[in-house]
Amino acid sequence: MNDVLTVRGLSVTVRDTALVSDVDLTVGAGERVGLIGESGSGKSLTALSILGLLPEDVRAGGSVRLDGVDHELVGADERRMSRVRGRDIAMVFQEPMTALNPTMRIGDQLAEAMLIHKTLAKPAARTAAADLLDRVQLPAETLRAYPHQLSGGQRQRVVLALALANDPALLICDEPTTALDVTVQALVLDLIVRGVVDRSSALLFITHDLAVVATVCERVLVMYGGRVVEAGPVAEVFTRPRHRYTEGLLAASDLETTSRRLTTIPGNVPPAGRFPSGCVFRTRCAHATALCEETPPWTGSETAGFACHHPAGVGND
């Protein structure tokens, strides 16, 4: 399996504050990878730096390579990035209303995605737009509609259709269903999975919802404090977590527990730049010792491993 996306040592900084440090990440063709973590853990910044959409004074370092694109994506100029975005990499954002142009009809927006990248000429683009809408189970009348005439779920399906318009090699979804109702979420998730499976596209799926990621993805990376703290196959990470943060996160989201009280992680996620040195989780970790003041090394292989001095599941807890 060839890797579609290869991220090496990605860091994101704003002035002197590190927001994301040393993120390694690969997504193979047809693979579905989840990126989970709470707000402020750096998962959205990771996605934005892959797309080259970081705000003005935020800088990315390291390397991001995409299969089929012969240049480095980190630091590439806008002219080159705009050719990659929407054609090789597409993104679905959380809030579909801000991702759509309120003054353009849906059909024109869909056709524009193909016309801009010259993947199709005008008449063919219109037919393709209708076809795309059909694939996300929206009626052909939607072509004539404006975004405000659609519901949240319908808009998110339009955004998905737009993202899939040029059969991207990589689809990035950032919390695509957080704003949606559960029954609509089920439909949108199913359309995302079917969309990438049909095209054998790679999927990078960002969410804070462990159950969603377990349903959608095959592999998962857990982020905290701008670092990947654990990675591995979904079944492995969610049944035998090694990092203490993953362990805490799983316990806190377990609403099936019969006890009245839920297990919690003490404290709050610190604001950006206030994470401790060494292990980023040590200030909230019950197992932290003096050793944790040193940055824990990555244990395991590149796709399955963890960074913790006192991992769970070795019989010492």
Partner: protein, 289 residues
């Protein structure tokens, strides 16, 4: 609609909130000079009963009328027809000046603490405000006591809402709600905007306070799994009506109404996913929305 048969134990417990055939229609702006203004039927005959000391959940998706129902129970809105009886008082058509005891006995916690806390007030003033409004002396002692009850340090009172994280702000909202010593606490999606680890903290806090202070809790959420954890009984709402009521465990395990079945099957859970459920299974009992 399925009703559960009350046991003798329950018949003895007094009712905290009773809602009888509640209807709320909202007129929409006229679209034509010659036709009457279109009407939105937000609630179409809702009846429910919450016993004292009960943890009652209301579940439904956006637009199902759950917020309208809450607003009517809290007398923040007027019903088109039907009755809301809170602790033996029919509040449906009472004028504002006679709602004083309701304003003390029933308090609300909203979803977004950023919009429900005044950004220009210090936390201690926010918490004392319900007392001041009711004409009670608001002692610093009571504010400190409330801050401690929700797990915030005493010096938090000197700061402003923006200096707190989402979870801490929700704690401030809870402290404010508890200030007038209410007997009924209504929480409208109190944890929907919070991260998983903080959500667990706030759910535990609400649970502890309800036990300690012997409160009646009405918990509204779109998330049936959260309601299942917190509440004893649940009402499922769809399109302005209650389609199913029952013990949360029963409703979750064996939903009777087709809508509830669709809702329950659409909830992704770790257990199901790890045993091989895919996104297609979430839609198993559903159709396109």
């Amino acid at each position: 609609m399925t009703e559960h048969i009350p046991t003798t134990h329950e018949l003895e417990t007094p009712t905290a909130i009773q809602v009888v055939d509640l209807v709320r229609d909202y007129p929409r702006p006229r679209t034509s000079l010659f036709q009457p203004a279109p009407v939105v039927h937000a609630l179409r005959g809702v009846s429910l009963e919450v016993k004292q000391g009960e943890r009652f959940g209301i579940v439904g998706e956006s637009g199902c009328g759950k917020s309208t129902l809450l607003r009517l129970i809290a007398a923040l809105d007027r019903a088109t027809s039907g009755h809301v009886i809170v602790e033996d008082t029919d509040i449906t058509r009472l004028p504002e000046r006679r709602l004083r005891s309701l304003r003390e006995n029933l308090q609300l916690v909203f979803q977004d603490p950023m919009s429900s806390l005044d950004p220009r007030m210090r936390v201690r003033d926010i918490i004392a405000e319900p007392l001041v409004v009711q004409g009670h002396p608001a002692s610093g002692e009571r504010v400190r006591e409330l801050l401690e009850a929700v797990g915030l340090s005493a010096d938090a009172g000197d700061r402003y809402p923006h200096q707190f994280s989402g979870g801490q702000r929700q704690r401030i909202s809870i402290a404010r709600a508890l200030a007038p010593r209410p007997r009924i606490l209504i929480a409208d999606e109190p944890v929907s905007a919070l991260d998983v680890s903080v959500r667990a903290q706030v759910l535990n806090l609400i649970s502890d306070l309800v036990d300690e202070l012997d409160l009646t809790l009405v918990f509204v959420s779109h998330d049936l799994s959260v309601v299942k954890h917190v509440c004893d009984r649940v009402a499922v709402m769809n399109a302005g009506q209650i389609v199913e009521t029952g013990y949360t465990g029963d409703v979750y395990a064996a939903p009777q109404h087709p809508y509830t079945q669709r809702l329950v099957s659409a909830i992704p859970t770790l257990q199901r996913a790890l045993s091989g459920a895919t996104t297609a299974d979430l839609l198993a009992k559903g159709e396109s929305a």
